[in-house]
Symmetry: C2
Subunit: 390 residues, 2 copies
Amino acid sequence: MKVDSVDFFYVAMPEVTTEADGSQDALVVRVSAGGHVGWGECEAAPLPSIAAFVSPMSHGACRPVSDSVLGQTLDGPDDIRRMSAALAFNSMDLLQAAHTWSGIEMAMWDLLGHARGVPAWKLLGYDAAYPKIPYASVLFGTTPQGTLERAREMRGRGFRAVKFGWAPFGDSLAGDIAHLDAAREGLGPDGILLIDAGQIFGEDVDAAAARLDAMERNRVTFFEEPFHGSAYGAYGALRDRVKTVKTAGGEAAHNRYMAEHLIDFGRVGYIQIDCGRIGGLWPAKQVADYAAARGVTYINHTFTSNLALSASLQPFAGLKDHVICEYPTTLKQLAVDLTRNHIAPNANGEIEVPDAPGLGIEVNTDALKQYKVDVEIKVGGKTLFSTSAN
Amino acid sequence: MKVDSVDFFYVAMPEVTTEADGSQDALVVRVSAGGHVGWGECEAAPLPSIAAFVSPMSHGACRPVSDSVLGQTLDGPDDIRRMSAALAFNSMDLLQAAHTWSGIEMAMWDLLGHARGVPAWKLLGYDAAYPKIPYASVLFGTTPQGTLERAREMRGRGFRAVKFGWAPFGDSLAGDIAHLDAAREGLGPDGILLIDAGQIFGEDVDAAAARLDAMERNRVTFFEEPFHGSAYGAYGALRDRVKTVKTAGGEAAHNRYMAEHLIDFGRVGYIQIDCGRIGGLWPAKQVADYAAARGVTYINHTFTSNLALSASLQPFAGLKDHVICEYPTTLKQLAVDLTRNHIAPNANGEIEVPDAPGLGIEVNTDALKQYKVDVEIKVGGKTLFSTSAN
């Protein structure tokens, strides 16, 4: 098969706010090859990601993503890996390329899975997929009382594990402690409590460490992204100051090296990978192997649709001991509508990785029309991209 | 002053080839504030970089670059640093943002320098600027004989130091050895010979190490980018196998952490920073301080116009012992025409960092028109960017 076409679908809610909610828009990708179709999703800013695909070449090491994809042979996993290596070289100086490629790479595994009638996790080399304990991924309440109520709500919905994230966390020490206490109270003594600081402390180790007592008292399982994603020094320094809580990070990794460095130099206990950013399923699988060999727990990072969720589960589907997974529960309607089928907890409250061809998720093409954002890019009088054909 | 406007000028040669020559196009940036104007240049793919400025917001941590810039106070260096920190947070998930911001940040130092009548390097904290020994940055010849002739040509033009880079280096061991011997022969025994592998070995340490004997015999001063920019493990492993040659890298760093990690974990002897990628002058100055404190030599990375060259010299202008600088000598006419004044070696063959307000370079607005690439970006029926107004 040859890659015949790559199509991008930029969709968004009618109103996009400054809320730290990644499900307000999406960039869905469709790859066609040899009569087969696969779908993926970039966890990325749609417009620059489209531009990185259609951009004119700047020079030999700054070529558009399309140059390493269109017309290429796609007969098996090796072809995806070959294209990935070609892209890393050909688009070396095009920063956004990794985000654009992530959705394309994902769609290629989906396509191959459909062509062969096997789940993507089998193509990645796993013999079996093990169920995961989902943690509900929610934002903190605006007040501690709001956090408490959200924790209770999630328990009521059957979630044993809940991750609270972002603002107002970091605004004040007293406020943060109140939110931590409220979260524990709302979850009850047997709940699994996870915290996401959203990089709020930059690289201020003391500021992050000031929250540790309240975290350990409230038995927080992991403390995610206290710092800038690349501040390995700060991660390592905090690691030396924790007693029971583990650090977590990695969602910003846009290649596998970054994730491996966060393990080696930042010494995180949990490595969180978003397949929509790191370059798709294969680099994520490599990170999963790397983490497992070093006693670090792999977790998906997902705050968008169930298409992205399925993709992000594939790389650690076969790691039986890596049992928790991120499961977005407060998705905007767009992200719910984007797929015809959904991944819901089973009777045991567990998430099963789809045992169906490819990613096992059917994209709702009606939603792609309903939430469509029209884009037109012209360069030098030539239309490089237009949604009018969609 | 408030930042009143940021304008982008995408210019390109009539024909752009796959040659590894970054001067075939350019993205020039003009910042206006309080009646003053400053100029900068992104070393980046123009279209995705413009898209990152004008892009609709995806969520609170994936905002367009413009959100952290337009209307902001710009009265001094602290304001630039504040905007830089805001951008890192607001555009955390917009990968291309660092490249877009780099040109803007550069233009802000130029603007402040003009407003205060001082060079940018004084604003960065240096009392004096020391001359540098330029190395001519050229591509390898297609044959060893071509490399030999290019080396002689550069010596003839007065360059004592020459860096050869990219293809066909890496094609074959025998060929590489022939090119290394030819380069040394052409340079003569007292020439400073530098090699840039253009990441051709990926992370294959053995392949890179196979070239070390020929490099050490030919007294290569540094061996640049043997590997993927983030493959710190490979850099560190090669470091353990060299005798006299030093490793160099860092041009792809899009934040200061990446450069610091390459120093700490890749243990390079030379750290090469492109101000058009790392986020402008300030993070580069931080890296220069970091390198100097650790016995690592700082060098600019520049393969574009003299505007970018001046910008890239500022962060280490005051480091007297960091004496060599990259000096592009085979620029496409576009990059020559882009500025009205040029930085040329003085009677001693040295490069003097401009002792003039800001970056000390006057942009040729006629060239911006002559080489202009028309761009129009529409999203949701609204024109977000159009060159027609330029």
